[in-house]
């Protein structure tokens, strides 16, 4: 049943003793006695969960270091360089500092919701790791709807932000929560629609199938979808230029203004880990996942390299761009990204009808589609920027009361 999951299979068969017909292990070594045959299943499963989740959490912590360090370099300063060699122990120092802080809850807070919000923030990020195909045959589970799972589970973050913002009783937090609900729900729509093109091309919702279908990386076949997805996911992660939810210069820290200590650390860890998870999803959907041009480098390394490259791009964007205003962000989503993603679906569906043989494509077909889609992307972007009025036209004084 899990025979295509090499990692699980190897550990399981290493431990299992007994009838190969039942276990599906033709090369069982059998470390455990036959009476303990119920154990290998759980050991194999838990070992995968433990390793993958810890890897992602440790990378999430290290990512905070990388971001601060890189942004320091972008800003012609050094960044953290005191704790350990090159400051690499900075996340540990931060963690210790935040853990030893007094746990303060504001009087105005709704305490159960206030305490629960950071947890709900962090859990979806960890859950998404379950469906990420990190390498060839290296994943916790290959759901047949894993893309749907990933998208819907990350949408839980909206609820966590909403809870955090409204439970603290702080007005800046409330402003942040108001912005978050509007923004995250709006950007969910173009993000989901931009993946429809890939679903049409692969004929499956499984992330593993999507990687295997990418004989040509989908960043070339679906350039428009890639742009929309990268913009939309940076909006969902609340990163510049869409970081109005926690706009420091406007509403101090937005929804987590009143959070301190370990709760703050959990929120931060969730945010940074979600950058990595989103980079991983982008890698899987558009950069052909674990598949690399050179085969002697193991597939998980390829995956991590691509993931770190995407995370680096997000850091780069954060260090460069100023922030948009709330209404500009909303009109950008509904007036620009949504029509473009619909255009992308239309074009891709037509191509699938024309080229597809039982929903399958040769590599040549994919290259031709890539050419067409690049043309459509450029034309679409140029036309929609002209047609849709986005920018200075929205700068109007508001008369109160209306």
């Amino acid at each position: 049943m899990l025979s295509d999951n090499l990692w699980f299979h190897n550990i399981y068969c290493f431990l299992y003793t007994g009838d190969t017909a039942i276990s599906g292990c033709s090369d069982a070594i059998g470390l455990l006695p036959e009476s303990a045959n119920w154990m290998p299943y759980y050991i194999a499963g838990f070992s995968m969960v433990l390793v993958l989740i810890n890897i992602f959490m440790i990378f999430g912590a290290l990512y905070t270091y990388a971001e601060r360090r890189l942004i320091g370099r972008f800003q012609s300063r050094l960044g953290p360089n005191r704790a350990g060699p090159f400051g690499i122990l900075q996340p540990v120092a931060d963690g210790i500092k935040l853990l030893t802080k007094e746990s303060m809850i504001p009087d105005t807070a709704d305490k159960p919701v206030y305490n629960l919000a950071p947890v709900i923030m962090l859990v979806p990020v960890i859950l998404v790791v379950a469906v990420l195909p990190v390498g060839e045959g290296t994943f916790m589970t290959d759901l047949n709807v894993s893309l749907l799972f990933a998208i819907s589970i990350t949408a839980l973050t909206t609820i966590a932000i909403f809870m955090a913002g409204f439970s603290t009783g702080n007005r800046f937090a409330m402003l942040g929560a108001m912005r978050a609900v509007a923004q995250l729900i709006s950007y969910e729509v173009p993000v989901v629609l931009s993946t429809v093109g890939i679903i049409l091309l692969t004929g499956s919702l499984s992330l593993v199938d999507m990687v295997e279908a990418q004989t040509v990386p989908f960043i070339l076949v679906q350039p428009l979808a890639f742009l929309i997805f990268i913009i939309g996911s940076s909006a969902e992660m609340n990163r510049t230029p869409f970081d109005v939810v926690e706009a420091e210069s406007e509403i101090i820290a937005g929804y987590h203004t009143e959070y301190g200590g370990m709760r703050f650390a959990m929120i931060q860890l969730a945010e940074y880990a979600s950058v990595l998870v989103n980079s991983a999803i982008i890698t899987t959907l558009f950069l052909s996942g674990w598949d690399g041009p050179v085969s002697f480098i193991p597939s998980p390394i390829w995956f991590l390299l691509k993931m770190f490259f995407m995370a680096f791009c997000f850091i780069w964007i954060r260090a460069t761009l100023p922030r948009l205003r709330m209404d500009q962000i909303m009109s950008f989503a509904w007036k620009f990204l949504l029509p473009l993603s619909l255009l992308n679906i239309f074009v891709t569906a037509s191509e699938v009808l024309y080229f597809g043989v039982n929903g399958l494509f040769t590599q040549n077909d994919l290259w031709i589609m890539s050419l067409i889609n690049f043309g459509v992307a450029i034309l679409g972007i140029v036309i929609f920027t002209k047609v849709m009025e986005i920018g200075t036209d929205s700068n109007n004084k508001y008369k109160y009361p209306v």
Partner: protein
């Protein structure tokens, strides 16, 4: 649809109120419908303190008013002292004052621009770039007088000391680099689509409004009026120099930003002309240690980076001023807050506050 109004305190401790400025704003959703500015958190009683100090000691108080541009504060004060005593500083000292005042203007505009872009939400990158350049100006000031922020470089009747030999090459290399850096900033910022859509047409004021509120400085010039004290009421040696006064058209946030950038270019050209024209000579008049001007009054004013900075001095013939009244441009530039902020979004409000480039040290004194 009815909605409840929400009153929010912006400041005195807020990341982007430039010190301890407090705004109590009433919001309808994201839109500002009423606001009440509250000043005084940085009040140190400078004007009263001046009555207890000698004329020379008051210079140290002026450093702490607009601490981003202490040179122009020094200049305004010593000019009004000199008016009171009816003396003029030696020509070389006047050149040195102009050079340091223009350096101060560049430093102040760098801070103004950097914080404006920071308020726009660029994650402190432009601010750090601006501070990198400002750091070199502070190095130059350190060569001139040993201090970096609170300078007290100027004296009644001249400047503190002769320039050290390493100052001039350092100044010239700074000017060359600064021109290049300004081009770099403009290529990064002025054409940036997000910056344009966030600042163009936001919080515009007309020339009439600005004049009625006696607003001066870049904010007045951004409305299209060519009014600069360096030209309309030349002090020191400004009438020997050729420079343009950059003006805007609409008086919106973008024009204020652009006027500052162009003023930095003009300042560079002014300093270059000063370097060509300056000649060796006296740097300070031989005045007694305790100055006792005859009783009388004088008003000296300069074009500080924020606007018209004036010192009104009354002397009763003793060693300290009888009254020292400051005309702080930052405070007076805030008089139009209602017209500028009400009806705009919270995000616009922050950007407008950034573009006004006020300094709480000067507002509260």
């Amino acid at each position: 649809m009815t909605s409840e109004l929400m009153t929010v305190n912006f400041g005195p401790q807020h990341p982007s109120t430039h010190g301890v400025f407090r705004l109590r704003i009433t919001l309808d959703g994201e839109t500002v419908v009423a606001l009440e500015p509250i000043f005084g958190y940085l009040h140190r009683g400078s004007e009263k303190l001046a009555e207890e100090r000698t004329f020379t000691q008051v210079i140290t108080l002026t450093d702490r008013m607009d601490y981003t541009s202490a040179m122009t504060n020094n200049q305004a004060y010593v000019l009004s002292c000199e008016k009171l005593m009816e003396v003029r500083a030696p020509v070389r000292a006047q050149y040195l004052r102009v050079i340091s005042a223009e350096l101060s203007r560049i430093a102040s505009h760098l801070i103004g621009t950097g914080f404006l872009i920071n308020d726009l939400g660029a994650f402190i990158t432009p601010l750090m770039y601006c501070f990198r350049e400002r750091e070199r100006i502070l190095d130059l000031f350190e060569m001139l007088c040993g201090a970096r922020i609170t300078l007290t470089y100027m004296r009644v009747g001249g400047v503190f000391q002769e320039t050290p030999s390493e100052f001039w090459p350092a100044l010239e290399s700074f000017l060359t680099d600064m021109e290049y850096r300004l081009d770099e900033y403009e290529s990064l910022l002025t054409e940036n689509e997000i910056l344009l859509s966030r600042t163009k047409g936001v919080s515009p004021i007309t020339t009439d409004q600005a004049l009625n509120a006696s607003i001066t400085g870049p904010i007045l010039r951004s409305t299209g009026l060519n009014w600069d004290l360096r030209v309309v009421d030349p002090y020191e040696i400004y009438n020997r120099l050729k420079f343009e006064i950059p003006i805007g058209e609409n008086g919106d946030n973008f024009d204020r930003y652009l006027v500052r950038i162009n003023e930095m270019r003009q300042s560079i050209s002014i300093i270059k002309q000063c370097i060509e024209q300056i000649e060796p000579g006296e740097i300070r008049l031989d005045l007694p240690f305790l100055i006792r001007p005859d009783s009388g009054e004088a008003y000296g004013r300069v074009e500080s980076p924020k606007g018209e900075l004036g010192f009104y001095l009354i002397s009763d013939g003793s060693i300290s001023p009888y009254r020292c009244k400051v005309r702080p441009p930052s405070l007076i530039n805030l008089t139009l807050l209602d017209e500028m902020l009400v009806g705009w979004k919270v995000a616009d409000m922050i950007v407008t506050l950034g573009s006004l480039d006020f300094n709480m040290g000067e507002v509260d004194r």
